[in-house]
Amino acid sequence: MAEKTFAYYPGCSGAGTSIEYDKSNRAVCEELGIKLVDIPDWNCCGSTPAHQVDHVLSAALGARNFAQAEQLGLDTIITPCPACLKNQHNALEHMEEPGFAERVNELTRRPLTRKHSIKSVLQVILEDITPEEVAKHVKTPLSGIKIVPYYGCLMNRPGKSMKFDDDENPMALDRLMAAIGCEVLDFPLKQDCCGGAAGVADNKVTSRLSGRHLQVANHLGADAMVVACPLCQMNMDMRQAQANAYYGTSIKLPVFYYTQLMGLAFGIDKSRLALNKLIVDPAPVLAKIGKSAEEAQA
């Protein structure tokens, strides 16, 4: 299969709070023949704070990354992080509006010379690789574990701008997780906001919002939650104890990055998937893999 090469934007949290996402993502892309060329000396896209301050400033931070990518000669940038995606996607969209690009250039002093596009790694895996192809890479189907996919708000919304999957009922994770053998539950809150970055400012906000997700997932009998967003993962996993405290619950629901589970199914070495970085211990869930199949045989 021909390798697909993209400029890669890892995002700041990839070296910190979502190090397991970055690691597992690189391992899975390698397995699927997606070649990631890191944008040289990339900078922070500004994330939510930048667009909350000013759209031109926000776009300028993204524009420097596009300018850096121009050195690679690759016009399609992919990123695992929906926040980085959204911010830089909007930067490109706004720069199409009359007069906007000029204002950005005043800040960057590096006008772009090529036409860029940015999309998520998830989109590439779903559309360019396809779930059928993913299934062919599976060595250990993850049968026996029930997962709820959680998409967050940033990746698909609004549909007419993001043009990926369905902005009311996204299925990308559902399909990929099914392809690696998980039992995927229909998760009604798959796109409801977890509070995003508001957690730092006020963790009651995130507790209140993500706690609801955890309870519904628990109620549905999920063994784990699967996400594609570092912010969602942080709010669901790192802040799970806060949410439990807020609602007086005692849920222990591991929250995986989808790439971690794909890596497991592909038989990639566990150290490359950084499962040990998860706060809620995934071991009991991982122990279930393949179990129900055995029981069925018995």
Binding site: N169, P188, L189, V216, H219
Partner: protein
């Protein structure tokens, strides 16, 4: 030729921004103009008399009136010159109001433009010829397309007036949407009790020829003389023999066929009679699910039918009828609400449409009038109604208000309380639109007497939680987000043009708007006419409306059809094409392009020539623009007349 020119002031409407006296003075110098004057109101009684007198006094042979649009007053002035003894076609109008005085304030420029327009009219008039309308015989029969309540009313009124009626309905039974309703607002009277007798009247009326399970295949001809081809779809049952006894429907082994009448709230047999009061009460086989028709195995219905009516070999049949007028009453359909993915797009069983709910309420429905929710058959206690689903929503291309949802939702909230006294209804609305007689009082009763909780705001999303549906909406009056755990959600789905309406419009040669609703002749003054003579509109096909309005329009359309066909002949518009036989080379381009088949090939002493059927010709002039040698000319819009107008404007 002696031409009289009359420049109208129209009060200050024209005189305010056009120097009418100057225009009259300019007109006096134009060729053949014998008399030119400005007049206060040309269309008024004295204005018309002045024209008549001038014709006599100055021995005028043609008249130009420069005033408002000919679309407004051409018939008026035609009658005026006719009274003065001229041929009614010896008049031309210059539109110096709508197209001059009302669209610009520069008096000098307006005066110049008005003069030009008068000059054009004069030049055209110089080439006008006397035209005599022909009397054409008419077929005194009316086609009613659509057997809903509007069509039924139109058909009954036409028949009452002594006219023969042909009714075409695409479903196996007439009755339309109304036959699916349980009760009707604002009186809560039983829908089938009101409609049923009218349906029976249609069946029993000797003047009405009923074609159900049929569609209009094509229509040719023109006012007074349409020829309609009707496709009778094969029900695989010989309806001449079928007695509607229903034994076949009891014995049919396939009980899982989609139940159209019940909006899918139940299932039905492959051979079925849509509902007990169906007219005609005849069985129809659903070819998509019938085992005999699908794989040849079965044939039970044929075995049990006591009258031997089943015929698996039956084919569609084409029938041709001649009619003089057409009433389109094709009603409406509900929009496909599954575009609302935030409401589950159909994935949640207990999110249903208002019409489905109507079937649950109906004693003749699948639950025999007990409200049982589709998922588990339980009786719901908390019921949420969401209005404006598919109405007033620009984002899905439905900016219009459907008009009837506020009322039927109030009705359903009332009926819900009647059916389940310990239930609670919540109605999400944006505005309550209830401007009918006793309508607003009705919506108040739903709230005050029946305790329906009305919440002003849209619903953002429905989330299934266990066996409940979490409805998240807004109460903008309280300035709050609100949530309700509902047992059943009923969507007040908006209406849209009947599926296939644009195709029918094209067959009828009538216009339709961008949503597929048929265009009336004039929004205010011709609400049931169309711009195609002899075609009238009734009911929701023209725009969504409720039952009383549909019935009223059905009667109105009938009155129009009766009026049109009250005489044995119609006067034809003589502004038709005619062939100069000496010039025609019989190349056939004209008859190839004529949209009406109004030109035919004829043999003139061994030479092929074109011949115009005057009664069929609608006067579009396409042939005229097509004929290379200009042998076919549209009277009153001849090449020379258009060229004269062009030359009047630009010759340098």
């Amino acid at each position: 030729m002696r031409i009289g020119v009359f420049i109208c002031h129209c009060g200050s409407n024209i005189a305010g921004t056009v120097d009418v006296a100057q225009v009259a003075a300019n007109a006096a110098k134009m060729p053949d103009v014998a008399f030119a004057v400005d007049t206060m109101y040309a269309c008024s009684e004295p204005g018309q008399q002045a024209i008549e007198e001038a014709v006599k006094q100055h021995k005028l042979t043609g008249v130009v009136v420069a005033s408002c649009s000919p679309r407004m007053h051409e018939p008026t002035f035609r009658r005026a010159v006719e009274r003065a003894g001229l041929n009614r076609y010896m008049i031309e109008m210059a539109n110096i109001r709508e197209q001059v005085s009302w669209i610009g304030k520069d008096k000098e420029a307006n005066t110049r433009k008005a003069t030009d327009l008068v000059h054009m009219a004069v030049e055209k008039l110089r080439l006008n010829r006397v035209l005599i309308p022909k009397q054409i015989p008419v077929t005194r029969k009316v086609l009613v397309v659509g057997g809903g309540v509007a069509g039924i009313q139109a058909a009954l009124d036409c028949a009452e007036g002594g006219m023969e009626v042909v009714m075409v309905e695409r479903e196996p039974s007439i009755g339309g949407k109304m036959s699916k309703l349980d009760k009707t607002f604002p009186t809560i009277d039983c829908s089938s009790c009101v409609l049923g007798p009218k349906m029976v009247d249609v069946a029993q009326n000797d003047h009405i020829d009923l074609f159900t399970y049929s569609e209009v295949e094509s229509i040719t001809g023109y006012v007074g003389n349409f020829e309609v081809t009707i496709r009778k779809k094969a029900p695989y049952v010989d309806w001449e023999k079928c007695t509607g006894c229903g034994i076949c429907t009891e014995k049919c082994p396939n009980k899982k066929s989609f139940d159209r009448h019940n909006e899918g709230m139940g299932t039905t047999t492959s051979i079925n009679i849509p509902f007990p009061q169906a007219i005609p009460k005849k069985a129809t086989i659903n070819a998509a699910t019938c085992r005999k028709l699908v794989d040849g195995k079965c044939g039970v219905c044929a075995k049990v039918c006591p009258s031997g009516a089943i015929n698996y070999e039956q084919e569609d049949e084409l029938v041709t009828v001649k009619v003089g007028a057409v009433v389109a009453a094709t009603g409406y359909d509900f929009m496909d609400w599954t575009v609302y993915r935030e409401y589950g797009a159909g994935r949640y069983k207990d999110v249903i449409t208002s019409l489905q709910y109507e079937r649950l309420l109906s004693a003749s429905g699948p639950t025999e009038g007990h409200i049982k929710r589709p998922s588990d058959g339980k009786e719901p206690k908390n019921i949420v109604f969401i209005q404006c689903v598919g109405s007033r929503d620009v984002s899905i291309g439905r900016p219009y208000c459907s008009g009837f949802c506020c009322m039927y939702t109030a009705k359903q909230a009332i009926l819900t309380k009647d059916h389940i006294p310990d239930s609670q209804s919540y109605v999400f609305y944006m505005d309550i639109r209830s401007p009918g007689k006793a309508y607003d009082e009705f919506t108040r009763r739903a709230q005050e007497e029946y305790g329906a909780q009305y919440l002003r705001g849209r619903v953002s999303t429905i989330v299934p939680l266990g066996d409940k549906l979490l409805v998240r909406g807004a109460d903008t009056l309280a300035g709050q987000q609100v949530e309700i755990e509902a047992d059943l959600v009923v969507l007040a789905v908006g209406g849209e043009a009947a599926h296939g309406a644009p195709q029918l419009a094209e067959k009828l040669r009538i216009s339709y708007d961008s949503y597929g609703f048929f265009m009336e002749g004039h929004v205010k003054l011709k609400p049931v006419e169309t711009n195609t003579a002899g075609v009238f509109l009734a009911g929701a096909c023209q725009g969504l409306k409720d039952i009383p309005a549909s019935v009223a329009q059905g009667s109105a359309a009938a009155a129009k059809a009766l009026g049109l066909l009250s005489k044995d002949t119609l006067e034809s518009d003589p502004q038709t094409a005619s062939v100069d036989l000496k010039r025609c080379v019989g190349c056939g381009k004209c008859w190839n392009v004529c949209p009406f088949g109004a030109i035919r090939e004829m043999d003139m002493r061994g030479q092929i020539k074109a011949e115009v059927l005057e009664a069929v010709c609608q006067g579009c002039g396409l042939c005229n623009a097509t004929c290379p040698q200009g042998a076919i000319q549209l009277s009153h819009f001849t090449d020379n007349q258009v060229l004269a107008e062009v030359e009047a404007l630009c010759r340098c």
